[in-house]
Symmetry: C2
Subunit: 659 residues, 2 copies
């Protein structure tokens, strides 16, 4: 129950917040309620042995400390010290490394709010103390621009990332404010926000925007903490300023940073994917707080168009390496998919805001898809190496990245311990630390379950225990452990792929069509609701307009996308010469080296054509070779690929009769 943490020490002197405990522990906490209301991360306790609980524990025990070590090692932390106090006087890393430290701090703060850990609290306080050193008198803080390096503030709004970095500091401050984290971190975030509002707010001296959106959603969330209207107004102004050419043309054109069209007018997401998603998340926040239904509709419209035409089956977004951007409609190459991990995190952020605002379960469907097939694909099984890009095909076996230095972002086909632009690992870390907060919501009528993870949901109305092996198994049992007398509604999301699902209450089963199934009654302690989702292998076919995977099929099972993976150490590397027949039923099978996962057994045939040795374009008789040898493949969950050594991989498998 929310009340269980009312005794948590809130932020002294922040009366506006202290009076609004509804925001406690919530990553996103609208003041003006939408259709659904969020729960705090400590209201949804994921069972440590469950699918998500185990990943959250790995995040706490391995990934967050790993990130802390790397930001020390590569100078990200030391950059916050005055040059004279650093071990090397030069500032290190790309110009926006501050944001890496802030995201790590944010993850640490949320993790500390989820599960008390005195060691973590000390580390959080220490890192905060270092960051604080760089805060200038007026709240401005940046280790690349400003006082330390004597570079003019805001002299490169296009690519300088100053407001982006301030935004991440503010998000860390919000996390601290809502979890009883370091008050000095909250103060730094508030000071930065006040500075930004003075400089960039309505009527301020700078009628400008940042090349990388992020400050908008951060200001709205701090507004939600403090109730300072100026933050909301500044965010709203920045949303409205965008798309009017204020940033100039830039190396990649205006669409790169969404400055080509006003947010209200754009039809689809475009340009740099993370920028586009952060921007719309901020726009959704502004719309929610201002009750601006037109703006909300514009965001929803762009989301739906992007889902229909610019999204990979994994949920991945961003088709191009060149500028990390969405491509055009239906430009979805599997091999060169960029599908940045951060875009996956940002897609969850955006969809969550739209889910709260509308209650539409399609947003939760997309959160689930993206969590399982993009966000989860990023960390290695050990939690200490990461994918930055998430392609759907890899033709050559991966090459191990350097263990002791930063990797380039472009995938080598294996996960790397850190990157020269290490935005993704901390982004995943802060999301996983708050994951419980995305699993369930409440409204005046009851409780809604969006993600199925073993654990316990505690609301004012009830305590629910969830027991499930999902996603490996489709049975989800929800037991009412405590409840109040009046009838209320338990809503269960039925994913779009789950045709044939059933819900069973009190021994009686009924069909549960994709969307939401609602069970309303006067609950009693010990009542159990069972949701049965048809988690079994299925073949998916791409729309005809997606040129890059024409003639192929992909296997899915529950929320998981599967892939064929061929380990370079074995004699089965020729994935690209295989054809599957999707008419054949696919069976389940264990996977060597991934024993906790369920594999999918399929039969395939080799192309006779094999590797072309001359000019590869010819007459129409190329399809007439006799069927090739039969091969048996075990498809593995996409998110687990590249955990067993160098390998080739493909999600989309040519379909046909094996000729």
């Amino acid at each position: 129950m929310a009340g269980s943490r009312v005794d948590r020490p809130y932020i002294p002197g922040m009366s506006a917040y202290a009076g609004d405990e509804r925001a406690h522990g919530r990553p996103v906490s609208p003041r003006r309620a939408g259709v659904l209301r969020p729960l705090a991360i400590d209201q949804v306790a994921l069972a440590p042995g469950g699918f998500w609980g185990a990943l959250q524990r790995r995040n706490a025990e391995t990934t967050i400390p790993h990130a802390e070590r790397w930001i020390e090692r590569v100078g990200t932390v030391e950059n916050f010290l005055p040059p004279a106090e650093r071990s090397v006087p030069q500032r290190r890393g790309v110009l926006f490394t501050d944001s890496d430290a802030y995201k790590v701090l944010e993850a640490m703060a949320w993790e500390g709010g989820r599960a008390r850990d005195p060691g973590l609290e000390r580390r959080t306080a220490r890192l905060t103390a270092i960051v604080e050193r760089a805060v200038e008198d007026d709240g401005y803080v940046n280790t690349y621009w400003g006082a330390y390096e004597a570079r003019d503030r805001y002299s490169d709004l296009q690519m300088g990332h100053e407001l982006y970095c301030h935004g991440h500091l503010i998000q860390a401050a919000v996390a601290a404010a809502r979890t009883g984290g370091p008050q000095s971190l909250v103060r730094a975030g508030v000071a930065a926000a006040d500075h930004v509002c003075r400089e960039f707010g309505p009527g301020g001296p700078r009628e400008a925007i940042c090349g990388h959106p992020e400050i908008e959603l951060a200001l709205v969330e701090l507004y939600r903490v403090r109730g300072d209207e100026r933050c909301l107004q500044t965010a709203a102004a920045m949303i409205e300023r965008r798309g009017r050419g204020l940033l100039g043309e830039g190396p990649f054109g205006r669409a790169y940073y969404q400055d080509d069209l006003p947010v209200r007018e754009a039809a689809v997401m475009r340009g740099h994917a993370v920028r586009a998603l952060y921007l719309l998340a901020g726009a959704a926040d502004v719309a929610a707080e201002s009750g601006d239904t037109e703006l909300l509709a514009a965001v929803e419209r762009q989301w739906h168009a992007t889902i229909a035409r610019r999204t990979y089956i994994t949920g991945g977004m961003g088709s191009r390496h060149e500028d990390e951007s969405f491509g055009e409609d239906f430009e979805l190459p599997p091999d060169r998919a960029y599908a940045e991990t951060c875009a996956g995190v940002a897609a969850v952020m955006l969809a969550w805001r739209l889910l709260l605002a509308t209650g539409d379960s399609r947003y939760a469907d997309h959160i689930e898809r993206t969590l399982h097939n993009v966000v989860l694909a990023c960390p290695s099984r050990a939690g200490s190496a990461f994918f930055y890009t998430n392609p759907l095909q890899r033709r050559a076996p991966g090459t191990p990245p350097p263990p002791d230095s930063e990797s380039r972002h472009a995938a080598t086909g294996m996960r790397a311990p850190w990157f020269s632009v290490p935005c993704c690992p901390p982004n995943v870390a802060r999301l996983l630390a708050t994951l419980g907060g995305y699993a369930a919501t409440v409204d005046d009528d009851g409780v809604q379950l969006h993600l199925y993870a073993a654990g316990r949901v505690s609301t004012d109305a009830a305590t629910l225990a969830l027991r499930t092996r999902y996603p490996w198994d489709g049975t989800v049992d929800v037991e009412i452990e405590a409840t109040q007398a009046p009838p209320w509604t338990l809503s269960l999301r039925v994913p779009s792929w789950a045709g044939g699902a059933t819900v069973t209450v009190g021994g009686r089963s009924r069909p549960a069509a994709p969307g939401v199934v609602r069970v309303r009654r006067a609950w009693r302690r010990g009542d159990v609701v069972r949701l049965e989702l048809p988690v079994r292998p299925r073949w998916s076919v791409p729309a005809a307009r997606i040129d890059a995977v024409r003639g192929c099929v992909a296997a899915e099972r529950g929320p998981l996308v599967y892939c064929a993976e061929s380990l370079a150490t074995r004699d089965d590397a020729a994935l690209d010469a295989l054809v599957v027949d999707p008419v054949e039923a696919a069976d389940e099978r264990p996977v060597d080296g991934l024993e906790d996962a369920v594999g999918i057994a399929v039969r395939a045939r080799e192309h006779r054509a094999g590797v072309a040795c001359g000019w590869p374009y010819g007459g129409g008789d190329r399809g007439s070779a006799p069927p090739g040898a039969e091969r048996r493949l075990t498809l593995v969950p996409y998110y687990l690929w590249a955990n067993r050594g160098p390998s080739t991989m493909r999600v989309w498998l040519p379909a046909g009769r094996g000729r």
Copy 2:
């Protein structure tokens, strides 16, 4: 006949060259003869009204003067003046703009050698005089590095492009030397080469290479002019140094500039496409002059592997925008094809060297394919706007580039007048000015025709008149206008696609299989050989391993690749919703707005699926929609697309029964 120009004033003081008139007018002129020997550009006169002759005239009358104006306008020329004498003191443009001026100069020199033009000679002399101003005392010249800007020479061999620029200067000097061009240009090139050999030659102070190959082939060609062994040795040393990590890792990894593997060991071209092709062209030159069969074999091996796995049906090379590189084997996306025009020019340069060395007609086949479908696609029909990249699919109608400023290289789907990196237009200009030199060769046994262009070929042995409307028509008549008494062999290339070709001599026809057909006899004046190539529409199917165009077909006719083009001004923009049935015969038809071209009429059907409006991946019933409406399309030669206004385009058309 070659003798017709013996009276041309050669280069005083260059005795080694003056004694070797065989090199006159030849872009590539091996001292150590390979299987075939080149002719001079004035030995192959293209008929001004013929297909290639008209393009060559357009090049002379429009493209070269256009390039001259733009390099003036954007500061490329003024950069060669001392800062104090410039209209703006700052140097303008990217760091390697000098090479643009050199390539324009080279084009001007070759054009002057092809067809005397006093106006052109004056302009060439004037531009040469300006360039000369920047030459430093020791022969070094660069407007970004060195004295003008006080930047340390060779302080960034990885990306500094200094040897690259010197290479282009030397190539311009070679053109001047072989066409009676400005002697001061020859001197500047010789001085630069001497400088480079002193600094980088064997035993010199700098055992290094340039991040962008080019100097190697330039030094060999100047060796061919002067006979100075030091140039050859320096080029050979640079070839051997490559692939040993001398350049360091760089932003894109060592493969980007082919420093990952020694030339002799590499299996396939990789990394930046133009760099890879220039490097192998230089390696082929070194191999030719040193009789190094192992090196030649290494170059041939890489060429064949690249043709089989990393080349578009257009002949285009380079699959990635991100680093302008070859992708992996079979990574050949049509929409994101980079297929830089310069890579097409470089592919012609490389294949020509291999053709001379080996006589293998497959190299000539590739030259023809690349000329018609990459090089020719670059200039607009007017010759004053250019494509930098040459994708095989364009989903959204193009947007007109700015008419008065430089465009980015990434295609907007329409040709641009100039680019911020304007390497392509002058590269095409220098190639078109020398095109005759690529049409025919001689050996001890006779004359070989490689390209079929209306015009006249004059060799020591004979004068041949070619009459043909090729590529629109497949009939090529070769009339012997003058000859010598002893029998000799006329060899005619039969392209690989030309199954069913015939050759007719003296009224008797015989089959001419793809490869080379040879006709040996004691020729008499007035003899006519007729080659009949089956120039008619054909469908081509991609190898099964090329994922990006699975299930598609492309139309070709003779050496031309065709595409479907949909003008944005008409109501037929939905190219991506069409399916063709390649079993149906395709007819020929005129094209609106492209009256000189032959179009191909095909029937297509619309997908019922149309534009997806929800999640675009679903169950296996997506293919079961009834056939859609029939549509008639007129395919146009690919090289002519985007000449009639904004349009969408695709070379690869989904094949099927229209469902």
